[in-house]
């Protein structure tokens, strides 16, 4: 009998298991379906993670690494390549794995941390043919970042959620042409920094209040038809635009993964699509907790971490107090959404910018008229430095991959260890083509010093 079984080894499961250990639970089992821990963070090789939690900017694999290391210092038992198939109301967990076989484990408490999945073409019923080349942005991300394959050469992205924006940039950096990012709503659902750094940096048009109304092509996508929509999101006839492309990436929403939750008879929350949880993340089934994107879809992994730590701590209290549930009110979730982007651009020596230093996305006005420099609209002092750099010499941290020999994956994620001039990004990308790392590779390992004379080093962002 385990004190706790954690289902899922992504950011939520990792944080929850660590927190439960810290609070004194000793018999903890974490089941992860993949062959490695880290969950979706392993394919999120871009940066921007950890600004809240670690007060520094990390890539997805680096963020995951911190918790994987923390977990390694505990006595938590980890089963990889193991899928949980059923959770019973009696807190039996059926799981199966290549090496571990089919097992039924019992636990005093359970944490559901299965994450979420992407909405598909079927869910939004896009009409047209059904050729190859229509895929979710997350699937494309896995192909590009982990398997080293480009799923298309000319792409349209439907949905301006963060994964779609990130993939628009990734596809562009890897040599594909992204023709447009199409958003049904009159505003984007993505973070302001992603709109700036993923679309504007690469001149990818964002078509708001538009949607895909037809997919053409027999074997492979040949054309995508995009139409403007009215106030009720209905396509307006006569506004069709035809894009010749071979790929349509979908970033049309995330759905909490709750197959197991429903099967266990746990009460669901129609607002979040996850289990109904109380403030301590306990579900309607005593001793069963839910956290992370399985509970509700988060914008930032930092919030997943803190919420999951709460769940882990609550599970520990539950077990240590003799399996008695706490008095706790219903949880309320605030969805931290970035401010509306507005129109950025230059007017009479005044440059309107969106600060990308943190996810808040302050709207800055940098005034360079008369040879001076002044900034308005910044929420903190970092905004001033950002604005100054942006109007004089904009810089970006480049995140991408390099080939890797002998590792678990054919590509190793990397980043520049400091921002490089935006204008140098193509040269930096070209330089990456020439690198081939050899496993073992360690986080922070320098794979190329002083890339293209920028002074920045190319460093690995994961262990491989």
């Amino acid at each position: 009998m385990y004190d706790l079984i954690v289902i899922g080894g992504g950011p939520a499961g990792l944080a929850a298991a660590c927190a439960a250990w810290e609070r004194g639970l000793r018999k903890i089992l974490l089941a992860e379906r993949d062959r490695e821990l880290g969950g979706i963070l392993n394919q999120c090789i871009h940066n921007g993670f950890g600004l809240h939690y670690f007060k520094e900017e990390l890539t997805g694999p680096e963020y995951a690494r911190r918790f994987i290391e923390q977990l390694a210092d505990t006595g938590v038992e980890v089963r990889l390549d193991t899928m949980v198939l059923e959770v019973t109301p009696e807190r039996q967990v059926h799981m199966v794995g290549r090496d571990t076989g089919y097992r039924v484990e019992e636990a005093k408490s359970i944490i559901l941390a299965m994450g979420c999945r992407e909405r598909t073409r079927g869910a939004i019923a896009i009409p047209g043919t059904r050729p190859a080349g229509v895929l979710t942005a997350g699937a494309a991300q896995r192909y590009v970042n982990m398997e080293g394959w480009l799923p298309g050469r000319r792409a349209v992205v439907l949905g301006s959620g963060d994964i779609g924006l990130i993939m628009a940039r990734r596809m562009t950096l890897e040599g594909a042409k992204v023709l447009a990012c199409v958003e049904l709503m009159p505003q984007s659902g993505g973070l302001a920094r992603n709109i700036v750094q993923c679309l504007r940096d690469y001149d990818i048009p964002l078509l708001l209040s538009h949607t895909v109304t037809d997919i053409r092509g027999r074997e492979r996508v040949e054309q995508v038809v995009v139409s403007r929509v009215d106030g009720e999101c209905r396509p307006i006839p006569g506004t069709e635009m035809i894009f010749d492309c071979d790929t349509l990436l979908l970033s049309v929403g995330l759905i909490p993964e709750n197959e197991l939750t429903r099967q266990a008879g746990i009460e669901m929350d129609p607002r979040t699509g996850g289990a109904r949880v109380r403030e301590n993340m306990e579900t309607s089934l005593h001793g069963v907790f839910a956290c992370g994107n399985a509970a509700h879809v988060h914008d930032l992994v930092d919030h997943v971490t803190t919420e999951s730590q709460r769940a882990g701590a609550a599970a520990a209290r539950y077990v240590l107090a003799g399996c008695v549930s706490e008095e706790a009110g219903e949880a309320s979730f605030h969805q931290a959404r970035s401010a509306a982007l507005g129109d950025a651009g230059d007017v009479d020596g005044r440059t309107v910018l969106v600060c990308t230093v943190c996810p808040r996305g302050c709207r800055l006005v940098a005034d360079t008229s008369g040879g001076g420099f002044a900034v308005m609209g910044n929420g903190c002092s970092r905004g001033i430095d950002y604005a100054r750099a942006e109007v004089t010499c904009p810089t970006r941290v480049v995140t991408s991959t390099v080939r890797c020999r002998g590792g678990a994956h054919p590509r190793c994620p990397v980043k520049t260890d400091r921002p490089v001039p935006k204008s140098m990004i193509p040269q930096v990308m070209a330089a990456l083509d020439g690198i081939c790392a050899a496993a073992p590779v360690h986080v922070g390992q320098v794979l190329l010093a002083d890339v293209c004379g920028t002074g920045a080093a190319i460093v690995a962002t994961r262990e491989l």
């Binding site: 899928m83 019923a125 896995r142 394959w149």
Partner: protein, 480 residues
């Protein structure tokens, strides 16, 4: 020189091959696509009709009844998902009730068992989600649903195990009469056969015209569908039809053998075969389906698709030796109830061939049983034993449908291995669930590439040109 060469490996061609493979004959099946069941067989309502619909005296009426009688033991022996669920035809007005009465009489004269006319209230006791507007319903307890593509695959696979020669990606380009029979020219060489069976579905007219004077046209009639999540699969437990009109059986709502809900099809005559979906037609299907079952949550759709029925202008199946082409047999115009009738059409075709001089001598070693592992349906004890025996069954590849790597490998080593991601889906259900391959897609690609001995870049979604990946990043493997 083959005794019999069958053109087309949809349900009709597969059933014919299976029926003939019982005898000491050399049989070839030519299929132009890279898999079996690629036409109407993979995109239809999956229903084995009770048989009240066709006009008495027609081949359709006779073979529908006989076909579903044969289907039950056949699906059992060949391990094809089959669910005897029954069906209701709903009437919304007194005029429609009158049609149901006629349908009931027709069904009885066709020999359909157990037909009964119900009031709206009685129908709602059987199907509580049925609309309050339904005033009467015809209940046909003998209707069933099946997995059409697995049905086709099981028949074709068993025929192959019994010695039939299946040639995929082999399109027929010409047919010539020879002294001994027929010469069949294809995209992959020339074949000789004593008898040729035309089971080419929507192309049956074109194939016929290569051998004989023009005799019929196949008019593709498209139908569009919604496939809904398993959470909606419990909405009804029977097939719910609406009262048929001159346009056909209309939009139905049905449970699938896989536990999903199916709504569709409409009927739209086309000038050419086109399986794209359209917004206006889908809208219409949605509204019509909700007339029968108002509670359907279409936001839980996981896929929309369209199929094309191979309808002929004759109003009945065309099953005959073509005039002016001795030894060439048409099995054409196989629209609904073609799936229901398939094994009976095959039986009929065998009779036609025998009458034309084909000698039928039964094999002693005919194999007529097929089994495959369905991990999802096993008990915990059986699962444990299976994983113990072969750890590949311990790795779940498709989480939505609980499909293991072992099942995929088993399919890849079967008599008709899949050559595409969708081929894997039709065999083991991987990618058929609510995430539509978002999670398992890359893993299936990896397994296909490994087992087929090709690069992931050569793996296709479905047809030969439907590659999923275009090139490696970072200049590819050059430096690795």
């Amino acid at each position: 020189m083959y005794d019999v060469l069958i053109i087309g490996c949809g349900i009709t061609g597969a059933a014919a091959a299976f029926a003939l493979s019982r005898y000491r004959l050399s049989i070839a099946v030519l299929e132009r696509e890279n898999d079996v069941s690629m036409g109407a067989t993979k995109a239809n309502s999956a229903i084995l009709h009770a048989g009240y619909d066709p006009e008495p005296g027609t081949l359709m009426a006779r073979l529908n009844l006989r076909g579903v009688e044969l289907a039950r033991p056949l699906c059992r022996d060949l391990d094809v998902p089959y669910r005897a669920c029954g069906s209701l035809v709903a009437a919304f007005s007194p005029e429609e009730r009158a049609v149901l009465e006629a349908l009931c009489e027709r069904g009885k004269s066709n020999g359909v068992p157990g037909l009964e006319l119900l009031t709206g209230a009685e129908a709602r006791t059987l199907e509580p989600e049925l609309s309050e507007a339904v005033i009467a319903a015809l209940h046909a307890p003998s209707a069933a649903v099946c997995s059409p593509w697995e049905y086709c695959l099981a028949l074709a696979e068993t025929a192959v195990r019994n010695g039939a020669d299946l040639r995929l990606e082999t399109a027929v380009t010409g047919l010539q009469r020879t002294e001994a029979g027929w010469r069949v020219q294809t995209s992959r060489g020339t074949f000789e056969a004593r008898f040729v069976v035309n089971a080419a579905g929507v192309s049956a007219d074109a194939v016929h015209d290569m051998a004989a004077p023009h005799a019929f046209d196949i008019l593709p009639v498209r139908g569009q569908y919604f496939l809904l999540d398993k959470s909606e699969g419990v909405r009804v437990s029977r097939v719910i039809f609406q009262t048929p009109t001159a346009q056909g059986k209309g939009v139905l709502v049905a449970p699938t053998v896989h536990g999903n809900l199916l709504a569709g099809p409409d009927a739209e005559p086309l000038s050419r075969c086109d399986t794209s979906t359209t917004a206006d037609r889908l809208d219409c299907v949605r509204r019509t389906a909700q007339k029968s079952v108002p509670g359907i949550r279409f936001q839980d759709t996981i896929r929309t698709f369209a199929g094309v029925r191979a309808q002929s202008g004759r109003g009945d199946f065309i099953l005959q030796e073509a005039e002016g082409a001795p030894g060439f047999f048409d099995l054409a115009g196989i629209c609904s109830p073609g799936l229901s009738a398939a094994p009976a059409i095959a039986e009929y075709a065998v009779e036609l061939l025998e009458r034309a001089g084909l000698v039928l001598e039964e094999k002693q070693d005919f194999l007529c049983r097929r089994r495959r592992v369905r991990f999802r349906e096993l008990s915990p004890e059986d699962r444990a034993a299976l994983v113990e025996r072969d750890p590949a069954y311990g790795r779940i590849v498709c989480r939505c449908e609980t499909v293991t790597e072992g099942e995929i490998l088993e399919a890849l080593r079967a008599p008709i291995p899949p050559r595409s991601v969708d081929g894997v889906k039709r065999r083991v259900n991987a990618g058929m669930g609510r995430c539509q391959g978002g999670f398992c897609g890359p893993r299936v690609v990896e397994l296909l590439a490994r087992e087929l001995g090709v690069s992931p870049g050569e793996v296709v979604q479905e047809g030969a040109g439907s590659r999923l990946l275009v090139c490696e990043t970072k200049g590819g493997g050059r430096h690795v």
